[in-house]
């Protein structure tokens, strides 16, 4: 671990310094040691895996979260933000990944809301507002009409408007949270040109990105975070991609999540050259009976989208999905269920469960037609089956009649699993199965998945947590920017290898292993 000393590099007082910030939500520690130091006139990159605590740190800077501990100084003076207004007043502007403009207001008003220029009457002067906005856009070199409403603007234009707002606020610190995730190449260039010119005028820019090529092209220094903790800060000139990746993933994963060996059977799912324009391209993968295939990649790599297309929620443009050798018609989840696919979505509260219904009703939701006689569900059978599955999955609930919203996250996830397992699927797709679940229940969910694979069910597991993927998967398919960049066998898998593939642009996609599964 190469934690470089602060003394070697920081001669002057930093413009903004956060040291040892802590933020907890009940038992969950979102940020254990949030440390960042920004100097005037630098672009500072912040990198880390999903869940490393970057967004929590940003929200502290934004005044949205109040840290439970640590020190926070601006220009050497301690500060404590009570709200967003305090953060703004201190000269901090945040550009979120998804800009937050008001769709019904004009572009000019979006820039100046709350501090519109006023005329002699004390009323807002629309003329002054318009010309000031036009001036900002001229400075940024973008042709956006200040009078149009914000609705329907591209993400790139929305970000430019956020930057224009930051400039008009005379922001000293500009935080950009994954600004390039939704941008095309030209738009990225334009954004970077703007960022550099702001830096040259003396602003400090905190740039959060998953794309290493951008991090290394743009930043002056890089700070790495992992598991809610500060790891290191180094000059970009001295840093290497390998070194940064090692720091991002470096953790002992040996004792976590072992999957038990299961007999690998025939191919259950075969996805061939699946393409949906602009979302994912040429995705091929196979999952065999008894096998857990991990679908790894960064948020936004297109993993969930592929899973949704396989399940038929979204359509695809070309390619094919075969289940047990039979081609599946796309775009019809009902058909997918009948063919034997179960889908445990990422957001179980919104997509996996009906929160106000009882545990029993939720658990039997997918098979209500099988339970029904003449269109009416037999309540007694429903409860009996639900009780059986709850027992098998060890769902902890006072009564099966309680609303599922009263359960803990882990137990809710078990109810979702029960819902699909009751259908006796051949393939189970699980999307981020342990997100937001405490560590204890997490391992229970893992044991459960391992157990299912042992019974011959093919499991496709999407996960952003490297340890989970490395521990659970027999094979890892890595996606980046909508393409498969690597397929790695369990024995060859290393955190560095997966992270490299996950951050690869398709031009430099490494091929670590054969595309075929284990024989």
């Amino acid at each position: 671990m190469t934690t470089q000393s602060h003394d070697a590099t920081s001669t002057a007082t930093p413009l903004l310094a956060l040291r040892g910030a802590v933020k907890t939500f009940g038992p969950v520690v979102a940020l254990a040691d949030g440390t960042i130091e920004l100097r005037a006139g630098e672009i500072h990159a912040l990198v880390g895996e999903n869940g490393a605590g970057k967004s929590t740190l940003v929200k502290i800077l934004a005044g949205l979260y109040h840290p439970d501990g640590g020190e926070f100084t601006i220009d050497g003076r301690p500060v404590s933000f009570r709200n967003v207004g305090d953060s703004k007043a201190a000269g901090i502007s945040i550009i979120y990944q998804e800009p937050t403009l008001f769709p019904d207001l004009t572009v000019a008003e979006n820039i100046f809301i709350g501090r519109q220029p006023r005329g002699r009457t004390g009323l807002i002067s629309r003329g002054a507002m318009r010309s000031q906005a036009a001036e900002l856009f001229a400075r940024l070199g973008v042709p956006i009409d200040p009078d149009r409403i914000a609705e329907g603007l591209s993400i790139a234009d929305q970000q430019i408007i956020e930057i224009a707002k930051a400039i008009s606020l005379d922001a000293q610190v500009l935080v950009m949270d994954e600004p390039t995730a939704a941008l095309s190449g030209i738009e990225v260039d334009r954004l970077f040109a703007v960022a550099r010119s702001l830096r040259d005028r003396g602003a400090a820019i905190l740039f959060i990105s998953h794309r290493f090529d951008e991090v290394f092209a743009l930043s002056d220094r890089i700070t790495v975070m992992r598991d809610g903790r500060y790891i290191s800060t180094q000059d970009t000139a001295d840093a290497t991609v390998d070194g940064v990746v090692r720091q991002m993933v470096g953790r002992d994963i040996a004792q976590l999540f072992p999957k038990e060996n299961a007999e690998i059977g025939d191919v259950v799912l075969e996805v061939e050259h699946l393409t949906r324009a602009g979302v994912f391209t040429d995705v091929s993968l196979t999952v065999r009976a008894g096998e857990i295939v991990g679908l790894a990649g960064l948020v936004g790599a297109g993993r969930t989208e592929v899973a949704r297309a396989v399940f038929g929620i979204d359509s695809y443009d070309s390619g094919a999905v075969e289940l047990g050798g039979v081609r599946l018609a796309g775009g019809d989840p009902q058909k997918a269920i009948e063919a034997g696919i179960g889908f445990v979505p990422e957001d179980r509260r919104k997509q996996g469960l009906v929160m106000d219904l009882s545990v029993a009703r939720n658990a039997m939701l997918a098979m209500r037609e099988k339970l029904a006689r003449f269109g009416i569900i037999d309540g007694r059978t429903e409860r009996a089956r639900a009780a059986e599955w709850s027992r098998r999955l060890q769902v902890k609930t006072g009564s099966l009649e309680y609303a599922v919203s009263t359960l803990s996250g882990g137990n809710q996830q078990k109810v979702v699993l029960a819902k699909w397992l009751a259908m006796e699927p051949r393939l189970l797709i699980v999307d981020e199965p342990t997100r937001g679940i405490d560590v204890g229940t997490k391992s229970e969910v893992h044991r459960l998945l391992s157990d299912l694979a042992g019974r011959g069910i093919a499991v496709l597991m999407i996960s952003s947590e490297l340890p989970e993927v490395l521990g659970m998967a027999d094979r890892i398919v890595v996606m980046s920017e909508g393409r498969v960049t690597a397929t790695i066998d369990r024995v060859d898998a290393t955190p560095e290898g997966v992270m490299h593939a996950a951050t690869a642009s398709h031009a430099t996609a490494p091929t670590v292993s054969s595309q075929e599964g284990a024989a």
Partner: protein
């Protein structure tokens, strides 16, 4: 990535597009409908626009206009206040009670008490909505019944009649200035003041921002709770004003005064182009909507259309207003896409 920012600054044309000024007139369709309706009815029945006929039209619209203006403030913030009919009823009955129990009370004092009373009732709504964080639809449905219940308990079977009130008070709804009834001029004043506030004050613009995207408004540091509370408070004050004027305009006030009015008010705002999900619309539009709805009722009477058809026609109008609005929004969206394509 060699281009610097300043290099391109000369090539940033800020085009003024003709539609952008037109798009702002969301009130246009309802204004056209109003003119067409009045002209058509006038041709069929010239008495419709006689001095007395015009005065009646304006008088009928006055109270609805004031209430629609207040409602617009609330709807713009993506809320709604269904209790306005009950607030009006309480204040109107209170006004009658004041004149009866306090002989010789100055009329301005009655107005002030009425405004404060309405404001207090509106503030209760505002507090419940912002503190309890329950949808305004539910909260104000509750206060609709609570306020009406209070009115029933207070009034019982009692009614106050115009004869109980001083003649100068009643003459507010009879006397005219430049041909306009005094109370109508009060309504016009309300429209102008609120319109200027919404267009020209920073806190007024905040209301649109809140309705447009409440989460973003919080992220921006806009004091969402305080602004929404203020909108409910103002709506209460305006409902109070409408209540006092109701007592001036109509003969009797009692336990049931103002019952069922809330839906007419919301209908007026929606017909006037105020988006029911907040973020856009104007009080001028809402006032025109109120005028259109009351004029239709009068026009259908003048045209001797069966009374039973009148409500159905109002319903058709509401749907028409929404369809016109959707079409206009779609057209704007298409044009925006086209202009986007030109920019690239």
């Amino acid at each position: 990535m060699s281009s610097t920012v300043r290099d391109t600054s000369t090539s940033a044309p800020v085009r003024r597009r003709p539609w952008s000024s037109l798009a702002r007139f969301r009130e246009l369709p309802v204004a056209i409908a109003l003119v067409a309706l009045v002209l058509f009815t006038y041709i069929q029945n010239p008495l419709f626009l006689s001095p007395q006929g015009t005065k009646d039209l304006l008088l009928n619209a006055t109270i609805i206009i004031i209430l629609a203006v207040g409602q617009t403030l609330v709807i713009i913030t993506r809320n709604i206040d269904l209790s306005v009919g009950s607030i009006l009823g309480l204040v109107a009955f209170g006004t009658g009670t004041l004149f009866a129990d306090v002989p010789g009370i100055p009329i301005p004092v009655v107005f002030l008490i009425g405004l404060a009373f309405g404001g207090a009732l509106g503030a209760v709504n505002g507090l419940l909505v912002t503190v309890a964080k329950v949808p305004a639809l539910v909260i104000t449905l509750g206060t609709l019944y609570i306020y009406r219940g209070l009115n029933n308990a207070w009034a019982g079977g009692k009614q106050y009649f115009a004869g109980d009130r001083p003649a100068e008070f009643g003459s507010l709804a009879v006397d005219t200035f430049l041909g306009f009834p005094i109370i109508t001029l009060i309504a016009v004043l309300v429209v102008v003041v609120v319109a200027i506030y919404l267009a020209g004050a920073r806190s007024g613009r905040d209301l649109y921002a809140i309705g447009s995207d409440p989460a973003a408004a919080r992220l921006f540091g806009i004091p969402v709770g305080r602004r929404v509370f203020l909108a409910f408070l103002c709506n209460g004050v305006l409902a109070g004003l409408a209540g006092v004027l109701y007592a001036a305009r109509f003969n009797s006030v009692g336990a049931t005064t103002g019952t069922g009015m809330e839906l007419d008010i919301v209908a007026a705002a929606v017909v006037g182009g105020v988006a029911i999900f907040g973020g856009s619309g104007s009080v001028v539009g809402a006032a025109l909507g109120a005028l259109l709805l009351t004029t239709i009722t009068s026009a259908l009477t003048a045209l001797r259309v069966d009374k039973f058809w009148q409500q159905a026609i109002v319903g058709v109008l509401i749907l028409a207003a929404i369809i016109v609005d959707r079409l206009a929004a779609l057209r704007t969206a298409r044009r925006l896409r086209l202009s986007e394509a030109r920019d690239d």
